[in-house]
C-alpha cells in the first residue's frame, strides 16, 4: 500500500516540479487568526467592504489548514472559489451579504472566543445547516449551553490590522436552573499613524459585544437569545501605481491622508477614507427534540445597522487626490512628450522633485481644499426645488459618506431525522427579507457652507443647471448641508426563500450522501431619487421585480479500501441567482435591468485519495469546477469615450481545476511535519458579452460586444502554492514551528476593455501595443517564512497561554499582495494607466497572552 502512496506522491510532485520550482509547505498549529486584509479598489468604491481572505477556522485537513493560515497571506483561495461560494451561518442564519453574496467577518470581529464553535465543511460535502455553496459551509453555533463554564481574558499586541486588543469572555455553562449564559466584549485599537503601522495615516478603533442566553424549558424544548455587534471605524489605505512607490521609495505609500491645520495652527493628520460599520444582529432560537430520532432548530433574526465609508467628492474642481494620474510626474512627462506648450524637461524634473519632497504634493493638502471652499462665494437661484435663492460659500470639495445600511429579517429552520443509525435525513427552510439602503450623504463641507448636489459627469452649461444634471429632479438644485443625502438614494430589495434536504447513508466501507436545494429569489430596486437623466419610473419608485428560481443537486461519498486508505468523490450542480449589483445597469441611478439576466450555474466535482495512519495523514485530490453565466459589473471612467460608464460583462464561463496535496507526518513524538501544495488553473473558457452604458445617457455604447477572454486566467490569486513546515512540540508545554511558503503563477485579472475588437482598430499584430493589450500581467513568484511559537502554564487552576506568530520573517517588502489592471485604458498608449498594487507587509507579528479560569 505504501508503495502506491509513494507513487502517487511522486507523480503529483513531479508535475509540480515541472510546472514550477517545487516547494512544499507545512503547518504549525495556529491559534491566531489569519491576517484580515482590508482592501478597496477604485472601481468598487460604492461597496467598500471588508474582505476576508480565508476561513475563521479551518478544518483539520492539513491542506486546508495551511491554505487558511499560510497561503491566504497572499490572497490564495482554495480551488479559486470566491468567498461568496461559502455559506457562512450563525445558528443557521445565512451571514452572506444578500446583495453581493460575500460574508463579512468584520460583522463579528473581535468575538473570536465565542465564535470558535463551528463546523466547517470544505468544498462540496456533507453539511448540516444548509445545502452549501461549492466552496463549502462554515456553521457557527453560539448556543449558550454549548460553552463550558469559564472566564477568559486576553491581550494581544500586533502590527497587523490593529495594535492592541483586549478580550474578555464569561460563560456559565448549563446551570442547574436550566439557564446558560455566555458574554464577551472586546476592544481593538490602532492610533493614527502608529509607529507600528506599515502604512502612514491609518488608524483603527473597534469594540465588540456578545450576549447569548439559553433556557432549557424541558427535555424537548429549549429557547435561546442572541445579540452581538462589532462597531468599528477604520482609516484605510489604497493601492497605488508603482510609479509613486518608486518615487517615494516605499511600497507602503498611502495616498488617502494629508496634513490639516486647525484653528490654533496645529497640524494634524487626516485620512479621507474612513469606513464605519455597526450592524448588530438579534436572534431568537428554538431548539426542539421531539424524539431521539428528530431534532428541529429554528431561528428568527433581525439584522440591521449602518455601514459605509467616507471619500472625497468634488464639483467644479480638479481631482485633489495626490495619486490621481494627472497629478503624478508621469503625466507631466506625458504632456512633455506630447510637446505641449509650457512643459519643459527642467519643469518635469522640478515637478518630480517637488512631488517627492513636498508632503503637500504627495499627500492630500487639506488646507488647500479648505482655502478653495472658502473662496467660492456664489449664489444659487431656484435652490432646493425653486423655493429659495441661496448665497454662501459653496464647497468645491467635501467629504461624503457612502452608506449601505442593512435591514434584514427572516426565519430559518433545520431538522435532522434518523431513520436508523446508517440513514439520516437533514433539511430545512430559510426565508429572508433584505432591504439595503444605499445612499450618500454630506459628511463634512470642509469649511464651506453648502454643497450643490448635481452630477459632475453630466453634460451641462456652467451657469445654467440643466435638468439632466439633477441627481434628484424632485429636489432640483439641491443645496446640501451636512447630513443631507446627495448623489443617489435607493433600496436594494432581495427576498429569498430556500428549501433544502440531504440524505446520508453509511454502510460497511461506504459513506454516501445526496442533497437537493430549491431557491426562489426576488430582486428589485426602489429609487428614492428621480434622476434628471432617467425620469419617472426609470429611476424612481420600484423597478420591475425580477423573480429567479434555482435548483441544485449534490452527491458524493467515500469508500474505505481498508482502515488506512480511502477514495473520496463529490459532485455538485449549483444554480444561483445573480448578484443584485449585476442585475442593474447602474443600480445607483437607474431602475433598468441588464439584458440577458441569467442564473449563475456551477458544476463542481472532485476525486481524492486519503491515507490515515498514526504516522501520517495525507490527502491527494483532483478537482474541477465549471462556472457558467457569471456576470461582472463595474463603473469607471472610460477613456475611449471620455465618459463615466457602467460596464457589464455577462455570459461568462470559467473553470478552475487542479490538484491538491496535504500531509501531516509525525516524525517523532515531539517533531512533526506538515506539507501542502496545489497546482491549479483558473481560466475563462468562453468569450463573454459586454454591455456598456454611459452613466448619463440611456443609449448603450456596446450591446453584446464580444470580449475575447477565452483561456485567460481568471487571476487574482497565486495558482501554484506550496508550503512545508516543521514543528517541535516540547513535553514541557511549549512549541515552535516554522513554515516556508512559495507562491507562483499569480496573474492579475485582465481588464476586459482591452479585449474587445475595437481596442485593436488600427493596431497591427506586430505592434507592441497589441502585445501589451493582450498580455496578462503575472506577478513575481514569492517566498515567505512564517514562525509560530507558544507556551502554556498551569498556575493554581489558571491556564495561561502565550502565543506568537510572525509572518514574513524575511521582511520581504517587495511581494505584491494584490494588484489589478486599471479599467481606464488608453489603447494608443497602454502603459499610460498601469496596474495598481498593494504590497504584503514586511515582518509582522501577533503576540497574545490569554488567561483562563
Amino acid at each position: 500500500m505504501k508503495k502506491y502512496l509513494l507513487l502517487i506522491l511522486a507523480v503529483a510532485f513531479s508535475y509540480h516540479l515541472i510546472a514550477q520550482e517545487a516547494v512544499t509547505d507545512t503547518v504549525g498549529e495556529n491559534t491566531t487568526l489569519p491576517t484580515i486584509i482590508m482592501i478597496d479598489t477604485d472601481y468598487d468604491e460604492t461597496n467598500s467592504s471588508t474582505d476576508i481572505s480565508s476561513f475563521l477556522q479551518s478544518s483539520r485537513d492539513a491542506f486546508n489548514n495551511i491554505a487558511a493560515y499560510n497561503f491566504s497571506s497572499r490572497r490564495f483561495r482554495i480551488r479559486a472559489y470566491d468567498s461568496k461560494y461559502t455559506d457562512v451561518m450563525i445558528n443557521g442564519v445565512m451571514m452572506n451579504d444578500p446583495d453581493g453574496g460575500r460574508p463579512y467577518y468584520s460583522n463579528w470581529g473581535g468575538l473570536n472566543d465565542v465564535m470558535r464553535n463551528s463546523v466547517i465543511t470544505m468544498n462540496c460535502g456533507v453539511t448540516y445547516e444548509s445545502f452549501g455553496g461549492p466552496a463549502g459551509v462554515t456553521a457557527i453555533s453560539t448556543r449558550a449551553s454549548n460553552y463550558r463554564k469559564q472566564i477568559s481574558a486576553s491581550y494581544s499586541f500586533s502590527n497587523r490590522s490593529y495594535n492592541h486588543r483586549i478580550m474578555a469572555t464569561y460563560s456559565t455553562g448549563l446551570m442547574k436552573n436550566g439557564w446558560a449564559f455566555a458574554a464577551s466584549i472586546s476592544g481593538r485599537y490602532t492610533p493614527m499613524n502608529s509607529w507600528m503601522s506599515w502604512q502612514e495615516g491609518t488608524w483603527y478603533a473597534g469594540t465588540s459585544y456578545f450576549f447569548s442566553a439559553e433556557k432549557k424549558l424541558n427535555k424537548q424544548h429549549s429557547l435561546g437569545f442572541l445579540v452581538f455587534g462589532s462597531p468599528s471605524e477604520r482609516a484605510s489605505s489604497s493601492p497605488a501605481v508603482q510609479e509613486v512607490f518608486d518615487l517615494l521609495g516605499t511600497n507602503y505609500y498611502n495616498p488617502n491622508w494629508g496634513w490639516q491645520t486647525d484653528e490654533n495652527g496645529n497640524r494634524f493628520m487626516r485620512n479621507a477614507r474612513v469606513s464605519s460599520y455597526h450592524q448588530p444582529m438579534f436572534q431568537l432560537q428554538h431548539y426542539w427534540t421531539p424524539s431521539d430520532k428528530l431534532q428541529v432548530n429554528t431561528t428568527a433574526y433581525y439584522w440591521f445597522g449602518k455601514g459605509g465609508s467616507t471619500s472625497l467628492e468634488w464639483g467644479e474642481a480638479a481631482d485633489p487626490r495626490p495619486d490621481y494620474y494627472r497629478n503624478l510626474p508621469s503625466y507631466y512627462k506625458y504632456m512633455l512628450d506630447l510637446g505641449k506648450e509650457g512643459y519643459t524637461w527642467e519643469g518635469y524634473q522640478e515637478y518630480t522633485q517637488q512631488w517627492i519632497n513636498d508632503e503637500n504634493m504627495h499627500q492630500l493638502n487639506w488646507d488647500e481644499l479648505y482655502a478653495a471652499n472658502l473662496r467660492n462665494l456664489k449664489t444659487v437661484n431656484n435652490a432646493n426645488n425653486g423655493t429659495e435663492t441661496i448665497q454662501g460659500y459653496f464647497s468645491k470639495y467635501i467629504i461624503e459618506e457612502r452608506r449601505q445600511d442593512k435591514q434584514q429579517y427572516g426565519l430559518t429552520s433545520n431538522f435532522k431525522y434518523e431513520f436508523n443509525p446508517n440513514l439520516h435525513l437533514y433539511g430545512g427552510l430559510k426565508a429572508g427579507i433584505s432591504k439595503t439602503h444605499y445612499y450618500k450623504k454630506v459628511a463634512d463641507l470642509l469649511g464651506g457652507d453648502y454643497y450643490l448636489d448635481i452630477d459632475k459627469y453630466a453634460d451641462g452649461e456652467a451657469f445654467d443647471i440643466s435638468d439632466e444634471q439633477q441627481n434628484n429632479i424632485r429636489n432640483k438644485n439641491h443645496v446640501a448641508k451636512v447630513g443631507d443625502i446627495i448623489g443617489y438614494d435607493y433600496v436594494a430589495n432581495v427576498n429569498k426563500f430556500i428549501l433544502w434536504s440531504q440524505l446520508t447513508w453509511v454502510k460497511n466501507r461506504w459513506s454516501t450522501y445526496a442533497g437537493l436545494e430549491a431557491a426562489y429569489t426576488q430582486m428589485y430596486r426602489t429609487g428614492n431619487f428621480e434622476n434628471g437623466r432617467f425620469r419617472g419610473d426609470e429611476s424612481y419608485g420600484d423597478s420591475k421585480k425580477l423573480n429567479q428560481l434555482n435548483g441544485s443537486f449534490k452527491a458524493g461519498g467515500s469508500y474505505a479500501i481498508n482502515g488506512r486508505n480511502y477514495i473520496v468523490a463529490n459532485a455538485m450542480l449549483k444554480s444561483e441567482a445573480p448578484e443584485f449589483r449585476s442585475v442593474f445597469v447602474a443600480p445607483r441611478v437607474r431602475n433598468t435591468i441588464v439584458s440577458d439576466v441569467d442564473n449563475e450555474k456551477i458544476f463542481a466535482f472532485d476525486l481524492g485519495y486519503e491515507y490515515r495512519s498514526p504516522f501520517m495523514k495525507a490527502r491527494l485530490s483532483a478537482y474541477r469546477t465549471q462556472f457558467y453565466d457569471l456576470t461582472w459589473n463595474r463603473s469607471f471612467y472610460y477613456e475611449s469615450t471620455g465618459k463615466y460608464v457602467n460596464y457589464i460583462m455577462n455570459d461568462i464561463e470559467q473553470y478552475a481545476q487542479g490538484i491538491e496535496l496535504g500531509a501531516d507526518i509525525n516524525i517523532t513524538p515531539t517533531i512533526s511535519a506538515q506539507a501542502a501544495a496545489t497546482v491549479g488553473e483558473h481560466r475563462y473558457s468562453n468569450r463573454p458579452k459586454v454591455y456598456v452604458y454611459e452613466d448619463n445617457d440611456a443609449s448603450p455604447i456596446y450591446e453584446g460586444e464580444t470580449v475575447y477572454l477565452k483561456n485567460y486566467y481568471a487571476g487574482e490569486m497565486p495558482q501554484t502554492v506550496g508550503s512545508v513546515g516543521l514543528k517541535y512540540n516540547s513535553p514541557k508545554y511549549w512549541w515552535i514551528s516554522m513554515n516556508a511558503n512559495y507562491f507562483a503563477d499569480y496573474y492579475l485579472a485582465v481588464n476586459p476593455t482591452n479585449h474587445v475588437a475595437d481596442a485593436f482598430t488600427g493596431l497591427y499584430e506586430q505592434d507592441y501595443r497589441t502585445d501589451l493589450l493582450l498580455k496578462q500581467k503575472k506577478l513575481d513568484n514569492a517566498f515567505t517564512l512564517d514562525l509560530y511559537a507558544g507556551k502554556s502554564w498551569n498556575y493554581k487552576g489558571y491556564y495561561i497561554l502565550l502565543n506568537l506568530s510572525v509572518n514574513n520573517v524575511l521582511n520581504n517588502k517587495n511581494i505584491v499582495l494584490y494588484g489589478y489592471e486599471q479599467l481606464r485604458s488608453d489603447y494608443d498608449d497602454p502603459e499610460r494607466f498601469p496596474e495598481k498594487y498593494s504590497y504584503l507587509y514586511g515582518t509582522n507579528f501577533f503576540l497574545s497572552l490569554t488567561v483562563r479560569y
Binding site: 502506491y4 502517487i8 510637446g339 490538484i659 477565452k710 499584430e765 505592434d767 507592441y768
Partner: protein, 731 residues
C-alpha cells in the same frame, strides 16, 4: 488496489492541462514580405526621385528606429528614421494644405515599420526624404517596440564630418561646442526660422536652425560650452543642425576659445563663424577682418573705393612640437589685384597676444598667396615651419591694401600641424568644364562640389569601376548587377576611393551605354560626360548625366547639339529667368523663379492654398536670331509634379511649346500666330527631370525674330506644377 491507484493517477493527469492559447480578436498582420532598408531606398534615390507605385510594391515597408519626432515643434510634419542598417532618412507627411493627413504619432525610440506604397522618395533641397502623401496611422505604421533608447543614441562626430555629408539625417552629437554669439539671443526670433552659430573650441562652425514654432523658440541660448545633439540636416549646400528640444543641449561648462593660451599641434582654427582663438589687429585703415561666407574675410575696397589698410589675423601662441617637419596650411580663396606683397604670412617669437603687432618682431615667411580660380575654388597654401620646431611662436596673416588697389581674401581655416609643406598652392584645375576643356576627375575632387550650382559641366576621365551596394569602390569591370553608377579617376589604376568620383547614371541611353555590367569593355576607357557636379555617395560626384561619349559612340542627348549654340538659358538664376517674358492670359498664378530653389528653373503652377485654379500662362523667350542657322533644334529639361498630378492635363495639352516670328514684347500672345512644337518628351514620374528630346525648329522660323514659348494651362480643380530649365537652341 493497484487498478484503483492507476485509475486515480490517470484521472489526475487529465487535470494537468496542456498549454492553451490566449484568445484574441482578429488582428491584422503587418506585411513583412517586402522590406526595404533605408540604404536601398537611398541607393534608388541616387538615380533620381521615384514613387512606390508598382503593384509589386504594395507591401513594401521600411523598418527602423525613430530618432527624432515632432515633439518640441522644431521638426514639423517629419520624423527621422534610422534604418535597421544604420542609414537615415527623413519621413515627411503632407500637411492639410497639401491633402491632409494624420499626425505620425511616433515617438523617438520607436522601432517601427512603415508602408511605402504611394510615397515619393525624393530630395528636398538635397535632404533625402520619404514623402508620405497621406499618412494614416491605422494603415501605414506599426510600432514594434517603444523605448529602444540604445538604438537611437546620437553618433558622436565632428562638424567636419557633418559638412562632408557623412551623417545626413542622422542624430549626431557634437562635443566642446558653444553658441557664438549667444548673448541676448533666443533659439529663434519671433515666429521666424532662425539660424544660430554653433562653434566648437577648435573653431569649426555650423548652423543650428530653429523654427519659430518650436516650443523652446523663445528660450535663451545657453551661455556655456558642452554638447549638442541634433539631426544633421541640409538645405541645398547649407549643412545645418535641428535640435529636438532643449534637453538636446547640455552646455554647462565654461566657454572656450578666449585665445592667447599656448596651443599644441595640431592647431586647426576654422573661421566658419568666429575668429576663435585668433585675434585681429587693424594697424591702418577702417576696414577690418570680418567673418563672412563662413570665412575670415579681408578687403580694402568698399563700394567702388579703395582704402589703405594694414590688418593682421594673428594666432594664439603655438608650440611647434619636436617633430621632423611642421607646417602651416592656409585654406583660402582670393580674387582681384592688390599692391605687391599684399598678403603675407608672418611669424613671431615675441608677440604678446592682443598687442599691436608692430611692437613685435616678425619674420616674413616669404610665401605668395595666388588668386584662386573662383570664389569656390579654395586653395591650400602650405608653409614650412621646420625652422621653428621646438619653439613657441605666433603665426599671422598680414593684409595690406592701397588707395588704388585691393585684393579680397577669404580664409576658411589655418592649421599648424606636423608634416612637410607641399610647396605651392595646390588645387589648380586642369579644365574649366567646357566641352573643349572639360574637368578631370581630379578637378571634381579638388572643387569638392563648390560648383554644385545646378548647371551642367563637361567632365572627362577614365572609367575605373563602380560603387557597390555596400558603398565599396570596386576597381574592376565585373560590375555584377550594378548599372546605376560608375566611377571615374584621373589615375587609370587607382588604389583608393579618394582618387575617384562616382558618376550617377540615370535610366536611359546614358546608363545603357556606360554601365560596366552591360559594357565591361568600357573599363579603363576614357569617357566624356555632361552632368551636374553634386555630392553622390556623400562625396563630390557627377549626377544627372544626360550625355556621354566613349570610344567614338555617344549616348543621350548632346547638349547644344554639339554644334553652334544660338540660345542657351539655364533659367536657374534670376538673371536668366528675367530674359524671358511671363504673360498671364488668365488666372492669378504666374510663371516665377524661386531663388531658394534655383535649380527648379522657371516654375508655373495653378495650385495655391490647396486649390487648383484655371490659368493660361505663357513663358516667352527673347528674340533669337536663327537667320544664320541651318537645322536648329530645341532642347530643354523639365519636370512636373506632384506625383499624384503627373497625368493631369498631359493629353489635354496643358504643357505645350510654341514658336513664332512676330511676337512683340508685352503683347498678349493670343494676338499672335504661334506654331506648336510637338514631340516633347514628358516626365512620367513626379518631380523627375527629363530632357525634352531634340525638337526641330521648322524652316519658317529660321529668322532673326524667332521666339519660343512655354504655354501652361490648368483648370479649376485640376493642375500640376511645371518646371523648365536649360533651354538651348543649337545646330
Amino acid at each position: 488496489m493497484k487498478k484503483l491507484a492507476i485509475l486515480l493517477i490517470g484521472v489526475m493527469l487529465v487535470f494537468v492541462s496542456c498549454k492553451k492559447n490566449l484568445d484574441q480578436p482578429d488582428i491584422t498582420s503587418f506585411p513583412e514580405d517586402n522590406v526595404w532598408s533605408v540604404g536601398q531606398i537611398l541607393d534608388s534615390l541616387a538615380n533620381g526621385a521615384f514613387t512606390f507605385n508598382q503593384d509589386s510594391q504594395k507591401n513594401a515597408i521600411v523598418k527602423g528606429y525613430v530618432i527624432a519626432d515632432e515633439t518640441g515643434g522644431n521638426i514639423y510634419r517629419t520624423f527621422y528614421l534610422r534604418g535597421e542598417d544604420g542609414k537615415c532618412i527623413a519621413v515627411y507627411r503632407k500637411g492639410s494644405s497639401e491633402g491632409g493627413s494624420d499626425d505620425f504619432n511616433v515617438k523617438t525610440g520607436d522601432h517601427i515599420g512603415y508602408k511605402l506604397y504611394g510615397s515619393i522618395i525624393s530630395e528636398y533641397s538635397k535632404l533625402p526624404q520619404i514623402q508620405v502623401q497621406e499618412h494614416d496611422v491605422n494603415k501605414l505604421i506599426v510600432i514594434y517596440e517603444r523605448g529602444c533608447d540604445d538604438k537611437v543614441r546620437p553618433i558622436s562626430t565632428t562638424i567636419e564630418d557633418i559638412n562632408a555629408g557623412k551623417h545626413l539625417c542622422d542624430l549626431v552629437k557634437i562635443s566642446d561646442a558653444q553658441f557664438e554669439p549667444y548673448e541676448g539671443l533666443t533659439y529663434a526670433e519671433g515666429q521666424n526660422n532662425t539660424n544660430r552659430n554653433l562653434v566648437t573650441c577648435s573653431g569649426e562652425g555650423i548652423i543650428v536652425r530653429t523654427s519659430g514654432y518650436a516650443s523652446f523658440a523663445a528660450e535663451p541660448l545657453p551661455e556655456g560650452r558642452g554638447t549638442l545633439t541634433a539631426i544633421a540636416s541640409v538645405y541645398n549646400t547649407t549643412w545645418q543642425m535641428l535640435i529636438r528640444n532643449t534637453s538636446d543641449v547640455k552646455m554647462n561648462d565654461v566657454r572656450c576659445g578666449g585665445g592667447g593660451d599656448i596651443m599644441e599641434m595640431p592647431y586647426n582654427q576654422v573661421f566658419t563663424s568666429s575668429f576663435g582663438t585668433y585675434t585681429t589687429f587693424s594697424v591702418v585703415g577702417d576696414q577690418v577682418w570680418t567673418i563672412d561666407y563662413s570665412t575670415a574675410v579681408m578687403k580694402g575696397k568698399v563700394g567702388n573705393t579703395f582704402y589703405e589698410n594694414e590688418d593682421w589675423l594673428i594666432s594664439s601662441p603655438v608650440h611647434i612640437a619636436d617633430v621632423e617637419h611642421a607646417k602651416a596650411v592656409v585654406n583660402y580663396v582670393a580674387q582681384y589685384t592688390g599692391p605687391d606683397k599684399d598678403v603675407t604670412a608672418q611669424i613671431s617669437a615675441d608677440y604678446e597676444y592682443g598687442d599691436d603687432p608692430t611692437n613685435a618682431n616678425w619674420t616674413d615667411l616669404n610665401v605668395t598667396f595666388e588668386n584662386s580660380a573662383g570664389w569656390n575654388d579654395f586653395l591650400d597654401k602650405e608653409i614650412s615651419l621646420d625652422e621653428y620646431i621646438g619653439q613657441t611662436v605666433t603665426f599671422a596673416i598680414k593684409f595690406v591694401s592701397s588707395t588704388t588697389q585691393s585684393r579680397t581674401i577669404e580664409i576658411k581655416s589655418i592649421a599648424v600641424m606636423e608634416g612637410e609643406a607641399g610647396g605651392g598652392g595646390g588645387g589648380t584645375l586642369t579644365g574649366d568644364g567646357t566641352r573643349e576643356n572639360p574637368y578631370t576627375a581630379q578637378d571634381v575632387i579638388t572643387m569638392n562640389t563648390q560648383t554644385s550650382d545646378g548647371n551642367k559641366y563637361w567632365v572627362k576621365d577614365y572609367i575605373v569601376g563602380f560603387v557597390d551596394a555596400d558603398y565599396v569602390y570596386v576597381f574592376t569591370s565585373a560590375a555584377g548587377d550594378v548599372k546605376t553608377n560608375i566611377i571615374l579617376s584621373s589615375n587609370v589604376d587607382p588604389t583608393t576611393a579618394d582618387e575617384c568620383i562616382p558618376i550617377q547614371l540615370p535610366a536611359g541611353a546614358v546608363r545603357d551605354g556606360l554601365n560596366l555590367a552591360d559594357n565591361p569593355g568600357n573599363y579603363k576607357q576614357e569617357v566624356l560626360i555632361y552632368g551636374t557636379l553634386e555630392k553622390y555617395f556623400q562625396v563630390a560626384a557627377v549626377k544627372n548625366v544626360t550625355y556621354a561619349e566613349i570610344n567614338g559612340n555617344s549616348y543621350g542627348i548632346e547638349p547644344g547639339g554639339g554644334g553652334t549654340e544660338y540660345f542657351n538659358q539655364t533659367l536657374t538664376s534670376q538673371a536668366s529667368f528675367n530674359t524671358f517674358t511671363a504673360y498671364s492670359v488668365a488666372g492669378t498664378q504666374v510663371w516665377h523663379f524661386d531663388s531658394a530653389h534655383a535649380n527648379y528653373g522657371a516654375q508655373m503652377s495653378g495650385f495655391e492654398n490647396n486649390t487648383s485654379y484655371a490659368n493660361e500662362d505663357w513663358f516667352i523667350s527673347p528674340e533669337i536670331d536663327l537667320s544664320a542657322s541651318s537645322s536648329p533644334t530645341l532642347t530643354f529639361e523639365h519636370t512636373r509634379g506632384p506625383a499624384g498630378s503627373i497625368n493631369v492635363g498631359v493629353n489635354e495639352g496643358y504643357y505645350t511649346v510654341w514658336v513664332t516670328n512676330n511676337y512683340a514684347e508685352g503683347q498678349n500672345p493670343n494676338d499672335v500666330q504661334w506654331m506648336e512644337l510637338t514631340g516633347v518628351v514628358h516626365a512620367t514620374t513626379g518631380w523627375a527631370w527629363v530632357s525634352s528630346g531634340r525638337i526641330t525648329i521648322p524652316e519658317a522660323f529660321k529668322t532673326a525674330t524667332c521666339r519660343i514659348a512655354f504655354k501652361y494651362l490648368s483648370i479649376d480643380g485640376a493642375s500640376a506644377t511645371w518646371e523648365v530649365r536649360n533651354v538651348i537652341i543649337s545646330e
